[in-house]
Every structure is written in structure tokens, then in C-alpha cells.
């Protein structure tokens, strides 16, 4: 049984769904960040797999871009998280609903 590109795609889809479910269902901001990381990395996986299958370098380039953006996003996100935690001693996102219209 050979490992084809379809396996990678299915694996990535499963990872992505787990991440999405985490973002939707968990209330802890830190866990939500980790779920987002999971989604981003599942997408990275599809980029790499597709790039390798089609013989294109762009897949790897896109993956590198995603990593850079993810790093930046986490930096900002964690900073916000720390600031919020200092004020409220809680990381529950459902309590942060001041912007309700």
C-alpha cells in the first residue's frame, strides 16, 4: 500500500476540522490559539503535499509565508491574552463581550 497525495489531503482535512472544532467549542483563549495553529499547519501540509506532487516550488514558499504570519499572529495574540489575563484573571472569551452592538 503506497502513500499517495490523497492520504495527505485527508489527514490535513481531519487536522483542519479538529482545529475548527476547537475554535468553535473551547472557551479558553489559549486553547483557541492552539486550535488556530492546528488549522494553519494543516493548510501548510496541503501546500507542501500539493507542491511536491505537482513538482512546484510555490507550495513550499506559501508554507513559509504562513509560518511567518502565524508567528506574528501568535505574538500579538499572546500579548493581548496576557494583558486580558492581568486585568481579569481569566482567559474565558465569552466574558469578553463588551463590543456587543
Amino acid at each position: 500500500m503506497t502513500v499517495t497525495v490523497a492520504w495527505y489531503m485527508v489527514f490535513a482535512a481531519v487536522l483542519f476540522s479538529m482545529g475548527a472544532a476547537g475554535v468553535l467549542l473551547r472557551r479558553n483563549a489559549l486553547v483557541m490559539f492552539m486550535s488556530i495553529e492546528l488549522m494553519l499547519n494543516s493548510v501548510n501540509l496541503t501546500f507542501i503535499a500539493a507542491g511536491s506532487e505537482l513538482g512546484l516550488i510555490e507550495g513550499q514558499v506559501a508554507a513559509l509565508f504562513v509560518m511567518v504570519v502565524a508567528a506574528a499572529e501568535v505574538t500579538v495574540g499572546l500579548a493581548i491574552l496576557v494583558a486580558v489575563f492581568r486585568r481579569r484573571s481569566s482567559a474565558n472569551v465569552d466574558e469578553l463581550s463588551e463590543l456587543r452592538g
Binding site: 475548527a20 475554535v23 468553535l24 472557551r27 483557541m32 472569551v93 465569552d94 469578553l96 463581550s97 463588551e98 463590543l99 456587543r100 452592538g101
Partner: protein, 624 residues
């Protein structure tokens, strides 16, 4: 030398800028002298440039300044030909004399430098009008003279009547400007350009008679506004609220002749529309007659001269309507001299009597104001048309042209003769009431001769009024030859030759002497007649034309404006704006429920959206 032509406009414009911005620091009388110099220098330049026409070394030419509106091919370029040179000489020559006169007349006015700034602005605007080489630039000048006229009429704006007079002049002129502007649009539609050279050169091939009539009638509407003809003449008598030098410069000598100049300049267009020409000539003659009958009944010395100006402008308009363009320009020139003289003389009298303008409170001034008296007498005889003063030659050329054209125009000749009689009558009345008889002025008024800054311009203008007629006489057609290059493409009407001409001249001389005689019999022998009631009240009121326009045009206009302000604006305009605001707010309050503030609900919306897109793509790809 011709390269310096732009200085004619630039110098007075510079003066206006300096005096309006820094006038207070320059002060009195330096600002007056500066302004006078900045008109005098252009006059000298114009004289030098005109001399080269006379000795034949220079041809009419266009001087390109800069590209103005490239999209429609309009350039700021000036036209220097005999016609524009005559106008330039009148504007700068009479203009500089009146500037010098104002140095004395405006003495002590708290806005003295500002006055001269406006005067310089007027000179620059008027020169733009007469030097323009296309209708576009001419229109710019046309509007700017309207602006300076407004500023100067309401110069003493703390007086409500002066402020109202300025507004009236501006608004009535706007009606004429509307016609002028629409005429220009038609010209542009027909020719694709506003350049004089192209328009006049190709007019005969391009324009149908109907189109030519439409264009020229609209241009003539503009002329009736600026040159105070029926039905738009009503602003000019009120314009006398301005300082007297303004009346002399703008409302007698120069600006009001813009319409005459414009028609003469557009001679090639008007020639294609005989109907328009007949209307122009008729309106001119009727205006001349109507204004003369009103002038008889006026008591205010400046209003007599104002109606007299309207009447004389009627002569000029009649002349250009007869296609006697040279005669029209000739009368424009002589009128500029003697009417400026009469106004300045009247100003000198008003000055001497501490701002008294009612002729019934003058009288006997000849002993107190020798120079003013003598110069005014020359002006009186010149406008009356007594041989050999200037008015005689120019007026008779117009009347002779009407006579020579014959047919219907014979009636116009007759109207002109009657007007000449009335002119002699009311001018004699003015002179007798002002300078002869007993002193009727109020107690405590001590008349005195004006300072030299005022009398010297009077003397120069009197000399010009006396001899200017000799520029163009039946025996020596100086002006006619000089203007020939400007009118070579059009056919002009000329007075008849030989005995007829002399008989006509004799007839008008007799008429003038009769007019003077009647006036002398009525006012010159002791007891003055009481001029009250009946005709006199009607004439004093200008036949109630103001009230008529007030009822027919102003009142409905006001009613519409009130309705717009009280109903249309709050209900429709404000309603639309408020309705838009209300709609936005209610849409916002409907949509705000989507903004829950819960991050996870937003995330759910994003996921739902992404899922929706994926499903759509699968459907498009034919998966189901």
C-alpha cells in the same frame, strides 16, 4: 513696442492689487497719485502704439499671451487694431483725467485708497474687454467691469440707497449677461471657436439667416443690459448713488459704451441679420427719446445727466443698428469727452455746495465757480450739438445716416431730431438752474471753486469736447479712414452727400436753437415755473417703470423665493436629507443584533461561510 501691450492691462491690475491690499499704508494722497500714474502710463503706451497706425508702419495684429483653455482652443490673446486702439485711448485718456480729478474729489474719504483700487480694477477690466481677441476673454472683461461697477456704485455702502443701487445694477446686468452668454454658446456651437478672426471671417458661409438673427439678438440683449437700453436701462439712474467720478468714468464715458463697442466689433455678424439691425436701431431711437423726456423732469443734477447718458447711448445704439459703425464709435468718443466733462462739472458743483444735488437749491453759481462754469457751458453746447463743437458732428453723422437709409429709418431720423430738441432743452434747463438766476442754496453753504486737481481735468476735457468733432467731419474723414481696417469687411451706411447733408445739419441746428430758446424763455427770466403734478411728477418718477418692474418681475420673483425658502427648502430639501439620515439609522439598529460580542459566534459565521463556499464550489464542479 507692441510686445508691451499686455502692460496696458497688467499695470492697472497691479495698482488694484497694491491699493486693495496695502492701501492703508500708502495713504492719502499718494495712493491716488499712484493709481493715476498706473492709468497714465498705459495711456502713453497706447498713444505710441496708435501713432504707428496713423503713420502706417503697423498692421492690425493679434498678440498671443498664453494658452487659456486648451480643450476648446481658447487663448488669452489681445487684438490691437484701430477700433480697439480708439477704445483704449478713450478708456485710459478719460480714465486718467478722472483719476486725477478724484484725487481732489475724494479728499478726506476714509476709504480713499480703496476707492482708487477699485478704479484701477475697473480700468484693467475695461481694457480686457476692449482688447480681447475672442468672445471668451471679452466676456471675462464684460463681467469684471460689472463687478467693478457694483463695487463702486455701492462704494458708500453704509447708505442703504447706495447698497440697493449697487445690487440693482448688478442684477439687471445679469439679465443682459445671460443673453450675451447664451449668444456666445450659440457662436461656439456654430463655429467651434470664439476667436474673432475665425467667427467674423467665416460667418457668411457658416451662419444661416435664422441662426445669425438668434445670435445677434442674444448679443443685443447683453448690450441692452450693459449699455442701459430699453428695457434694461433702469439701473443707470440709480447708479448715480456712487461717487461722481465713478458716474463720469463708468456710467457715462466708458463701461456703458461696452455694448456699442461689442456690436461694432461684431459688425460682421450683425450685418447678416437685417431683422436684428432694425430692432437694434429702433430700440436705440426709442431709448433716446424716452430717456430725454424723463431727463426733462428730473430735479437731481446727476439724474438729469444719467438720463441724458441713456439717451445718448440710444443714439449710439441706433447708429450701430443703422450699420453706421464709424458714426457710432465717433459719437461714443465725443460723448465720452463731453459727458465726462458734464459729470465732473456736476461733481465740482456738488462738492462746492456741500453735497447738494437738487438743482432747485442751486442757481447763481457762475460768479463763484468761474472755471467750472465755463467748462460746463462748453459741455452743454457740445452735447446740445451746436456748431462747431463735437456733439454737432457726431450726432449729425448718426442722424444723416438714418436719413440716408430712408424708408422705415426715416421715422428714426425724425425721433432723433425730436430727441435733439429735447436734449437742448433739458441741458439748457440744467445750466440755467445751476449757474444763472438767484442763489437758492441753503443757509450756511459757501460755494467755492474746486482745487486744481479737479479743474485741470475739466479744462482738458472741455478742450477735447470742443475740438473732438473735427476728427471726423464731412470734409475730412479722419476717424473714418483710421477705423477702416476694422470695418473693411462690412458695408457701412454714410450720411448723404452735398446739399442734403448741409440742409440736414441746418435743420438740426435750428432744432437745437429752438430747444435752447424754449428753455431760456421758461427758466431764464426771473420767476421759475413750479414743476409739480401731471407730466412733471410722472417724469420725475421715470414714468413709474421701476414700480411696474417691481410689480411684474420683482414681486413674483420674491413670492417664488419666499415659497422656496419657506416651503420647498424645509419640506423637500431638508426632508430628503433627514430621510436619508433616518433610513441609515433604522438600518443600523436592525443590523446591530448581529454584533453579539462573542468571538466564537463570529468564528462560527466564518466557518459557516467557508463551508458555504466549499459547497458552492463542489456544486459548480458537478459533484452533486
Amino acid at each position: 513696442m507692441i510686445d508691451f501691450l499686455w502692460l496696458l492691462i497688467a499695470l492697472p491690475l497691479l495698482g488694484a492689487a497694491i491699493l486693495i491690499l496695502f492701501g492703508k499704508r500708502i495713504g492719502e494722497p499718494a495712493s491716488g497719485w499712484l493709481a493715476s500714474a498706473l492709468v497714465l502710463v498705459p495711456f502713453v503706451i497706447a498713444v505710441v502704439l496708435t501713432a504707428s497706425f496713423i503713420n502706417g508702419t503697423e498692421e492690425p495684429q493679434t498678440i498671443f499671451l498664453f494658452s487659456w483653455i486648451p480643450m476648446v482652443g481658447a487663448n488669452a490673446s489681445l487684438l490691437w487694431d484701430p477700433l480697439s486702439s480708439v477704445m483704449t485711448l478713450i478708456v485710459t485718456g478719460v480714465g486718467s483725467l478722472i483719476h486725477i480729478y478724484s484725487v481732489g474729489y475724494m479728499h478726506g474719504d476714509e476709504r480713499y485708497p480703496r476707492f482708487f483700487g477699485y478704479m484701477n480694477l475697473f480700468i484693467a477690466s475695461m481694457l480686457t474687454l476692449v482688447l480681447a481677441d475672442n468672445f471668451g476673454l471679452m466676456f471675462v472683461g464684460w463681467e469684471l467691469v460689472g463687478l467693478s461697477s457694483y463695487l463702486l456704485i455701492s462704494f458708500w455702502f453704509t447708505k442703504p440707497s447706495a447698497a440697493a443701487a449697487g445690487k440693482k445694477a448688478f442684477i439687471v446686468n445679469r439679465i443682459g449677461d445671460w443673453g450675451f452668454l447664451v449668444g456666445l454658446m450659440l457662436i461656439f456651437a456654430a463655429f467651434g471657436t470664439l476667436d474673432f478672426g475665425v467667427v467674423f471671417g467665416e460667418a457668411e458661409g457658416v451662419l444661416s439667416v435664422g441662426m445669425a438673427t438668434a445670435i445677434t439678438l442674444l448679443l443685443f440683449v447683453g448690450a441692452t443690459g450693459k449699455s442701459a437700453q430699453i428695457p434694461l436701462y433702469i439701473w443707470l439712474p440709480d447708479a448715480m448713488e456712487g461717487p461722481t467720478p465713478v458716474s463720469a468714468l463708468i456710467h457715462a464715458a466708458t463701461m456703458v459704451t461696452a455694448g456699442v463697442y461689442m456690436i461694432a466689433r461684431s459688425a460682421a455678424l450683425f450685418e447678416l441679420a437685417p431683422v436684428t439691425l432694425a430692432i437694434v436701431a429702433t430700440v436705440g431711437a426709442l431709448t433716446a427719446l424716452l430717456a430725454a423726456t424723463i431727463a426733462i423732469g428730473q430735479r437731481d443734477i446727476k439724474r438729469v445727466l444719467a438720463y441724458s447718458t441713456i439717451s445718448q447711448l440710444g443714439y449710439m445704439i441706433m447708429a450701430v443698428g443703422l450699420t453706421a459703425f464709424t458714426a457710432g464709435i465717433f459719437h461714443l468718443m465725443t460723448h465720452a469727452f463731453f459727458k465726462a466733462l458734464l459729470f465732473l462739472g456736476a461733481g465740482s458743483v456738488i462738492h462746492a455746495l456741500a453735497n447738494e444735488q437738487d438743482m432747485w437749491k442751486m442757481g447763481g453759481l457762475r460768479k463763484f465757480m468761474r472755471i467750472t462754469f465755463v467748462t460746463m457751458v462748453i459741455g452743454w453746447l457740445a452735447i446740445g450739438g451746436l456748431f462747431p463743437l463735437s456733439g454737432f458732428w457726431s450726432k449729425d453723422e448718426i442722424l444723416g445716416s438714418a436719413f440716408a437709409k430712408g424708408g422705415f429709418f426715416f421715422i428714426l431720423w425724425f425721433i432723433g431730431i425730436v430727441t435733439a430738441l429735447l436734449t437742448a432743452f433739458y441741458m439748457t434747463r440744467l445750466i440755467i438752474l445751476t449757474f444763472f438766476g438767484e442763489a437758492r442754496w441753503d443757509e450756511g453753504v459757501h460755494p467755492h471753486e474746486s482745487p486744481p486737481t479737479m479743474t485741470v481735468p475739466l479744462i482738458i476735457l472741455a478742450a477735447l469736447s470742443a475740438v473732438a468733432g473735427l476728427f471726423n467731419t464731412p470734409v475730412r474723414l479722419g476717424l473714418e479712414h483710421f477705423l477702416e481696417p476694422s470695418f473693411e469687411a462690412v458695408e457701412q451706411v454714410h450720411p448723404p452727400d452735398g446739399v442734403t447733408l448741409w440742409l440736414l445739419a441746418l435743420a438740426s441746428l435750428v432744432v437745437v436753437i429752438i430747444g435752447i430758446g424754449i428753455a431760456y424763455a421758461r427758466y431764464g427770466r426771473g420767476e421759475l415755473p413750479t414743476e409739480e403734478g401731471g407730466y412733471w411728477a410722472a417724469a420725475l418718477d421715470g414714468y413709474g417703470v421701476d414700480a411696474f418692474y417691481g410689480a411684474v418681475i420683482v414681486a413674483p420673483g420674491r413670492a417664488i423665493a419666499t415659497w422656496l425658502a419657506k416651503w420647498f427648502d424645509p419640506k423637500v430639501i431638508d426632508g430628503a436629507v433627514n430621510g436619508l439620515g433616518y433610513a441609515t439609522r433604522s438600518f443600523g439598529s436592525t443590523m446591530r443584533v448581529l454584533q453579539t460580542g462573542w468571538v466564537r459566534s463570529y468564528a462560527a459565521a466564518v466557518v459557516a461561510g467557508a463551508l458555504g463556499i466549499v459547497l458552492w464550489m463542489l456544486w459548480q464542479g458537478g459533484v452533486f
